[in-house]
């Protein structure tokens, strides 16, 4: 049969009574910036009627996940708040105390309090708490330009999401995270003559189907499998893709660096590497080879608890396949040795000649900074080591002295300059101790940081924020537990259907396409993040009309479309023009190290101090980290290391060892006792299709799919504990506890448990102390802060420890009552 389609239709067209707006979506609701193509059907009354995937999209071709299919239920959800609200400070935590106010009142309150508090304590007393996966978060440069505080605070311990991989890539390659090449930017896609389908794809610590991690369209893996690519999965659990893999390595959580070193060792010792590439483009090969030699495959097999023959097999398969690619995921960030594992993965890619070749791993182009005013743009080649100038502009509006006040800059300057903000764990220290100075004002911007998505030990964050913060405002679509707990003013933001926007896929790294979000409907008085930034910038300029820095943001971006044009589109396009394209591809070049496209000076090579791939990293060395990869047992591991880091001559974590010791002793348990009391390895962060981080829990059609927070456990472990499938249980350790419903899964490794991500319960009481039940299933309370590497990165979100105790009570949600409360759209 032949079917009708909308291929070739303009960005806006009529279909019967509906006006259809084609759009490339990116948040809210939050997601990673894939910018999937959607068609928004708007009825005669201007109301969003339904959503379909847009078959015109060059990546997704009309396919769409359940979260966007349910967009209407998010836009018109009865619990969404679409007017500005205020609440007296003494009523914090009282869900019934919010009062509607005007935008002017709300903005005046924010600016008056900002003036009062910064006059007392300096601009650095304001922290901007940002989350992830929201458009507003990629505009952090704008936020910093307005308030000029260095304390941009992404509160996840060790920034254990993407940044450790980004920084490892920056150190070793002088480039951003190199993505598995899925032909996204090529005009002909998979069929483009330039492209080659990879013979082999290794998915390592990454299950990209449910979450589209970092902007990678997860189902492109399926597309490539259909075109003949074989899979290897490296993951402790058997995920669904593992059942379609030729080999899977079910390693023990947190041991990735040991495996990665062994794989490099085999590739080098069996002479499976590309001598020409090493000779021409690598630095420190001999030292690297010597270091990985200590990790024999036999040793790694013991550490990782996997068959040694499988390690050999994967190393040889990967080296023989041409091309082959590796997608390395979040597990690398949520591990204190993750950057070392990443160092090895990058080395594997280079050693086998799979870097920046079709079907291998592609390196991001330099972002063109011509219209931006950061130091990086102005400074020429020597200072130009910042490939993300579009996101660092606000940081460089501050003087070096002002930036130097960022919390954690004294310990972790590389981290703070890389992310243009404060080090997460040090922010908690300042909130708790008021040292080196008090943090009195907060902007909770697109972050629900006390839900189990982001901060470790959120109970501590909650207490510290409530105590330390004198004034806080929040920007979001819903009153989240975090906003309920600490905010005095709420500013409602629009969903992706209600504003114009530009999304850069992969957060701007390996940005293969640029997408335009087109406004289709208006709801209440909500404004988009960027529009709110413009209003705040306008007020700041009015307050200090003679201070050019205070006026900078307003003068540059009087309207939010100016930001879209000058920043997101780099001054090279006008939104009014490109919105009609909805999505357009960027040119893709391969082997850019040969053509000078990786360096602003146009010279061949890489943007590292030596101009080569640094297998021995001079930047790690300069920043106090071991310049070569190492493996060391995770802090909360069920094994006591046979040798200390000193015995192995590894520079493990020199900066915070005393502090870390203090944290251990505070809990008063020896490693032996910990292993005895908390024998399970706890992996947090299990993703579901029906939600993004802590979002979507109030959407009835999605909640019905995953009504309760689940803990996956091996049936043999469950039997030993007397825990039945579907029974609730409590996981606990010396840091905290949380309740989950057990799902017995033979795919979970014995001795491991895996907890669902991001749960809170909009149907439960919103007021303190419940805060929508945010403490009920908060697995992050079992993950300690401050277990980072020497650069302040990485944290044990996937290798904490716990015990599991069966419960008699059930905490199942009543879906009928839920549907009654949240299913009737307004």
């Amino acid at each position: 049969m032949e079917f009708k389609n909308d291929l070739g239709k303009p960005w806006k067209f009529q279909d019967g009574d509906f006006t259809v707006v084609r759009s490339s979506v990116w948040s809210p609701p939050g997601c990673h910036p894939v910018g999937c193509g959607i068609k928004i059907y708007v009825d005669k009354d201007g109301r969003l009627d339904h959503i379909e995937g847009d078959e015109n999209d060059p990546i997704t071709h009309g396919r769409l996940c359940p979260r966007c299919l349910a967009l209407k239920d998010y836009v018109y959800n009865p619990s969404r708040v679409v007017y500005p609200m205020r609440r007296a400070k003494e009523e914090r935590g009282n869900a019934d105390a919010w009062e509607r106010c005007t935008w002017d009142e709300a903005l005046d309150l924010i600016m008056d309090n900002w003036k009062r508090l910064t006059e007392q304590h300096g601009r650095e007393t304001m922290a901007i708490f940002v989350g992830t996966g929201r458009d507003g978060m990629l505009s952090q440069d704008f936020q910093l330009s307005i308030f000029r505080t260095p304390n941009l605070a992404y509160t996840q311990s060790g920034y254990a999401c993407y940044q450790p991989r980004m920084t490892a890539s920056n150190m070793v390659l002088g480039a951003l995270y190199p993505e598995l090449d899925y032909a996204g930017g090529l005009p002909g896609g998979y069929d483009d003559p330039q492209y080659q389908v990879p013979e082999l794809m290794i998915l390592w610590g990454k299950m990209p189907l449910a979450s589209n991690p970092d902007g990678f369209f997860g189902h492109s893996v399926i597309d490539l499998m259909k075109r003949g690519a074989k899979l290897v999965t490296i993951d402790p659990r058997v995920n669904w893709l593992a059942t379609r893999s030729v080999v899977q390595l079910r390693l023990r959580n947190g041991t990735d660096a040991a495996l990665a070193m062994a794989l490099c060792n085999i590739i080098i010792s069996e002479d499976l590497y590309d001598h020409d590439f090493v000779e021409r483009w690598c630095y420190g090969f001999d030292e690297f080879a010597e270091r990985v030699a200590y990790m024999t495959p036999e040793n790694a097999a013991k550490i990782c608890e996997i068959p040694v023959e499988d390690i050999y097999r994967v190393a040889r398969m990967y080296a023989a396949a041409k091309p082959a690619s590796i997608a390395w995921g979040l597990a690398f960030d949520q591990n204190t040795n993750g950057m070392q594992a990443g160092h090895c993965v990058l080395s594997m890619i280079c050693l086998t000649g799979n870097l920046d070749v079709p079907g291998g791993n592609v390196v991001a182009d330099l972002s063109m900074p011509e219209d931006l005013t950061s130091e990086a743009a102005a400074g020429g080649a020597e200072d130009f080591n910042d490939t993300r100038s579009f996101i660092t502009e606000g940081w460089y509006q501050m003087t070096e002295e002002e930036r130097g006040k960022a919390l954690g800059m004294d310990k972790y300057p590389l981290y703070c300059n890389q992310i243009t903000g404060a080090q997460a764990d040090c922010v908690l220290d300042a909130l708790e101790t008021e040292e080196p100075y008090p943090v009195r004002m907060a902007w909770v911007a697109n972050s629900n940081l006390i839900a189990p998505t982001n901060s470790a030990e959120p109970t501590r964050w909650h207490a510290a924020m409530v105590k330390s913060i004198e004034f806080a405002f929040g920007t979001d679509c819903f009153i989240t537990p975090t906003i309920q707990a600490v905010c005095d003013v709420f500013l409602p933001i629009t969903t992706v259907a209600e504003h114009d926007g530009v999304n850069r896929t992969h957060y701007g790294a390996a940005s293969i396409t640029t997408g335009c979000g087109n406004k289709a409907v208006t709801v209440g008085e909500a404004k988009c993040d960027l529009e709110i930034y413009c209003l705040l910038a306008e007020r700041m300029a009015a307050m200090f009309p003679d201070d050019p820095k205070a006026c900078f943001a307003h003068e540059k971006y009087p309207d939010y479309h100016d930001y879209l044009n000058k920043n997101r589109l780099e001054g090279r396009h006008d939104f009014e023009d490109v919105k009609q394209l909805v999505k357009f591809k960027r040119a893709v070049y391969y082997r850019k190290y040969e053509t000078g496209k990786l360096r602003p000076d146009g010279q061949p090579g890489f943007l590292t101090p030596t101009g080569r791939v640094e297998l021995w990293s001079s930047q790690y060395n300069d920043n106090g980290m071991d310049p070569l990869p190492y493996y060391y047992e995770p802090d909360l591991s069920p094994r006591i290391p046979e040798k200390t880091a000193e015995d192995l001559n590894l520079k493990k974590n020199p900066r915070i060892s005393d502090e870390l010791d203090a944290k251990w002793h505070e809990r008063d348990l020896s490693h032996e006792e910990i292993i005895e009391k908390y024998p399970f390895i706890l992996s947090t962060g299990h993703r579901r299709y029906s939600s993004f981080h802590s979002e979507h829990r109030q959407i009835a059609v999605l909640r019905e799919i995953d009504p309760n927070p689940m803990l996956e456990i091996n049936p043999a472990d469950a039997e030993r504990l007397g825990l039945a499938d579907g029974q609730w249980c409590e996981i606990e350790n010396m840091f905290g506890k949380a309740k989950y419903k057990a799902r017995l899964m033979p795919t979970i490794k014995q001795g491991h448990v895996e907890a669902d991500h991001g749960w809170w319960f909009p149907e439960q009481d919103g007021s303190e102390p419940s805060l929508f039940g945010v403490w009920q299933s908060n697995c992050n309370d079992l993950v300690p802060m401050h277990h980072n590497n020497a650069l302040g990165f990485g944290a044990p979100y996937k290798s904490a420890c716990c015990n599991v105790v069966p419960l008699k009570e059930s905490y199942d949600v009543d879906m009928n009552a839920f549907a009654e409360k949240f299913g009737k759209l307004v």
Partner: protein, 117 residues
């Protein structure tokens, strides 16, 4: 006699449940009612010498319910059912029973549903 059928390639159904949600939105089915559901068959361990991978059986198979009308009004308008249109794994096809039966013969691990007359 059924005229139309849904063909599912369950080798590539990832269990994303887009079909379920697209269907509910299209038909306004309330909580507790569905036009299609994804059967989660597994995971359980098998002992298969030929299987080089995980040795786990785990297939996700969309199953139309009694409420499925194969999006009759859309089909009348010349469009595919919403489950097929939005499928993330691109593993669902819709057509006449004859057409789909011919497709079925092309590869294993497929299933053909003819839920309605």
């Amino acid at each position: 006699m059924p005229k139309y059928a849904l063909l599912i390639d369950y080798e590539y159904c990832t269990g994303c449940q887009s079909c379920e949600v697209a269907c509910k939105e299209e038909h306004n089915f309330p909580v507790g009612k569905w036009g299609i559901r994804v059967l989660d068959e597994g995971p359980w361990q098998k002992d298969d010498a030929k299987d080089e991978g995980s040795c786990f059986n785990w297939n996700k198979i969309p199953v139309p319910t009694d409420l499925c009308d194969l999006c009759a009004s859309r089909v009348e308008d010349g469009r595919e059912p919403v489950c097929v249109h939005n499928c993330l794994g691109d593993c669902m096809r819709f057509g006449t029973v004859e057409e789909m039966a011919a497709e079925l013969a092309r590869k294993p691990k497929q299933v053909l549903w003819a839920p309605t007359d």
